[in-house]
């Protein structure tokens, strides 16, 4: 049976958007390899990757191989994964909380991760331990918010969840401030500040093997539940009257988004704006249908962070903190959207 009743033009338009976003991501990745102190051209990049896969010699300078496989490669992949994760989590949360101004850290995942990581720095632990503590801190914070919200009955569950997230986030922010105050100003404070501003400079291939599966595990339920997540953007009672167990689906989405965000924050530090701006931007392109919104958000988020990270490591003699740069790029973008596209929501 032909799909004559599915609007042809909207299906075509969506394929076009996906193709454009995927091509933009590929272009940004190639540009990221070609930019820096040792520029890697596309042909060299492909030869090195081919020899890495096949185990055959590539006949190029070994410095170039080190740059691709040890330094720039992991960093670009990290940017792709973190950007995709933050954008996907943000898109899911904006649907879940029925608000386009929500970001993935509304339930305190970033604040929790920050407390975990800073505690690790404070206790002079190693890199892996710090990352693990950041991951655990993010999960613990959201878990606490969820338990507190469940304990409060007789109110709109969504509102209680957001309020608990804001309040607990403020408390965790105070913990961060306290630890900064007590930290050794010569050794620990710069490391803490550096972590809070976000960076991908120290990512290596080992990080990828841990973070990538976690991100995929988070992404999978979001994709599988894409239609229920659409319905969940209606009123709770309406969603239930349409046959959706709203509370259960909401819990799955929160767990999935928290897993992804925690894993992302653990390797990159706190990077704001992506989870807020990218899904919002993607929605302007695709409309609110989550089955279209999620893939486009993932592609745009990945491309955006690769681009910003490339800027961060090349625009000045020192690394510009990612969190700072995303804000500098994200704020004008967001204001421009706000001014031009008010019809996007009510």
């Amino acid at each position: 049976m032909p799909h004559f009743f599915v609007s042809e033009t909207s299906a075509n338009r969506y394929s076009l958007i996906i193709a454009a976003a995927a091509m933009a991501l590929c272009g940004v990745v190639v540009a990221a390899f070609a930019t820096g102190r040792y520029p890697v051209l596309l042909s060299d990049l492909l030869r090195i990757l081919w020899s890495w896969v096949g185990g055959t010699p590539h006949g190029l300078d070994s410095t170039l191989e080190t740059v691709v496989l040890q330094i720039r490669g992991p960093r670009v992949i990290a940017a792709v994964l973190v950007g995709a994760a933050l954008a996907a989590a943000g898109a899911a949360y904006q649907n879940l909380f029925r608000n386009p101004l929500v970001s993935p850290d509304i339930l305190g995942v970033s604040a929790g991760a920050a407390v975990g990581a800073i505690l690790g720095i404070f206790l002079s632990l190693g890199v892996v331990a710090i990352q693990s503590m950041a991951f655990a801190g993010g999960l613990a914070a959201v878990g606490m918010v969820y338990v507190v919200a469940r304990a409060v009955r007789g109110h709109d569950p969504l509102l209680v969840l957001v309020l608990a997230g804001v309040v607990l986030g403020a408390l965790l922010g105070a913990c961060v401030a306290l630890m900064k105050y007590l930290a050794d100003p010569y050794n620990q404070l710069p490391a803490i500040t550096y972590w809070l501003l976000g960076s991908l400079a120290s990512t290596d291939s080992r990080d990828m093997w841990v973070a990538a599966p976690l991100l995929l595990v988070g992404l999978l339920p979001l994709w599988m539940l894409r239609w229920r997540i659409n319905v969940l953007s209606l009123d709770d009672e309406e969603a239930r009257s349409l046959g959706v167990s709203a509370g259960r689906i909401r819990l799955v989405v929160i767990v999935a988004a928290t897993l992804m965000t925690s894993a992302a924050v653990a390797i990159s530090g706190v990077i704001g704006w992506i989870g807020l701006v990218i899904p919002h931007f993607a929605r302007l392109l695709t409309g609110p249908d989550f089955s279209k919104l999620l893939p486009v958000s993932v592609l745009l988020g990945a491309g955006f962070l690769v681009a910003v990270d490339t800027l961060a490591r090349t625009m000045a003699n020192i690394e510009v903190p990612l969190g700072v740069l995303t804000a500098f790029v994200g704020t004008p973008l967001f204001l421009w959207q706000l001014a031009t596209a008010r019809r996007g929501w009510q």
């Binding site: 029925r98 386009p100 599988m224 009123d235 009257s241 046959g243 959706v244 609110p288 249908d289």
Partner: protein
């Protein structure tokens, strides 16, 4: 197929709103619920739909106790048309109606071509095919109401509960919605609706139930139940119920008396 409430108590654990409500709704029948503001019509509806827990008595859906049914099982038996509202995101009318198919989809499934067909069919039945690709947040209140009814149709439940489907609509849209409701019952769907206008009950209802002070004041055929005395008791104002000749037939109307100079 019927929806039956037996000695139903509804409300909240700390605040009981209604008691001892007993009635039945059969497929193909329009039952109109009248009651003053705050009489608990919406709360009763939400209890019948399983959105609020039953506080006492039973609700039977197609011979099964509501309390034993899963959310999607309830949704396949009875659909809900809330009062027309804004949406949070600019979905198209087609997408909003498609959400009515959710109860027929597996947990991980997205709507198939068949679901798209059912949604478009429901849109056509409500006479709003020209709005299919319009943005739900940008159409009028009357059009939104028709979209929400189309969504309930796409749900393919034999029973529909409508919460004040004519509220906030202009005169023409009120009549149009009532006509659609009659057409639904002709197709074998049982409709339970609430309204603030007794004339709407005269226009479209097979039976009328009156909710007053947390209990059923009366339940029966409009001509028997909706007398001037009963309506005065229900709303606390003087009314007259009279007959108007319309060609060969007659129709009853309800007029308020309190406004005389």
């Amino acid at each position: 197929m019927k929806l039956a409430a037996q000695k139903l108590a509804y409300g909240y654990p700390e605040r009981r709103i209604g008691n001892d409500v007993t009635f039945e709704l059969h497929a193909g029948e329009v039952l109109c619920l009248l009651g003053p503001n705050g009489s608990g019509k919406t709360t009763l509806f939400k209890t019948l739909l399983g959105l609020l827990p039953v506080q006492g008595g039973t609700v039977m859906l197609d011979g099964q106790d509501l309390c034993t049914l899963q959310r999607d099982e309830i949704a396949r038996l009875v659909s809900y048309v809330p009062q027309a509202h804004g949406a949070f995101f600019p979905y198209t009318v087609r997408e909003v109606v498609l959400m009515g198919r959710t109860a027929h989809l597996g947990l991980f499934a997205a709507p198939s071509a068949r679901d798209h067909g059912a949604a478009l069919d429901a849109i056509r039945r409500m006479g709003i095919a020209h709005l299919a690709d319009a943005t739900y947040t940008r159409i009028s209140g009357g059009e939104r109401q028709l979209v929400l009814i189309a969504r309930a149709l796409a749900q393919e439940a034999r029973m529909v509960v409508m919460d004040e489907p004519t509220a906030n609509l202009d005169f023409g849209n009120q009549v149009r919605v009532l006509e659609r409701i009659r057409a639904l019952s002709a197709d074998g769907i049982g409709v339970l609706l609430s309204t603030h206008d007794p004339d709407h009950a005269f226009l479209c209802a097979d039976r009328v139930a009156m909710l007053h002070n947390g209990g059923l004041l009366a339940c029966g055929v409009p001509d028997d139940v909706m007398t001037a005395a009963q309506l005065q008791h229900l709303y606390g104002v003087d009314v007259v119920v009279t007959e108007v000749a319309l060609g060969q037939s007659k129709r009853r109307v309800c007029l308020p008396l309190g406004m005389r100079a």
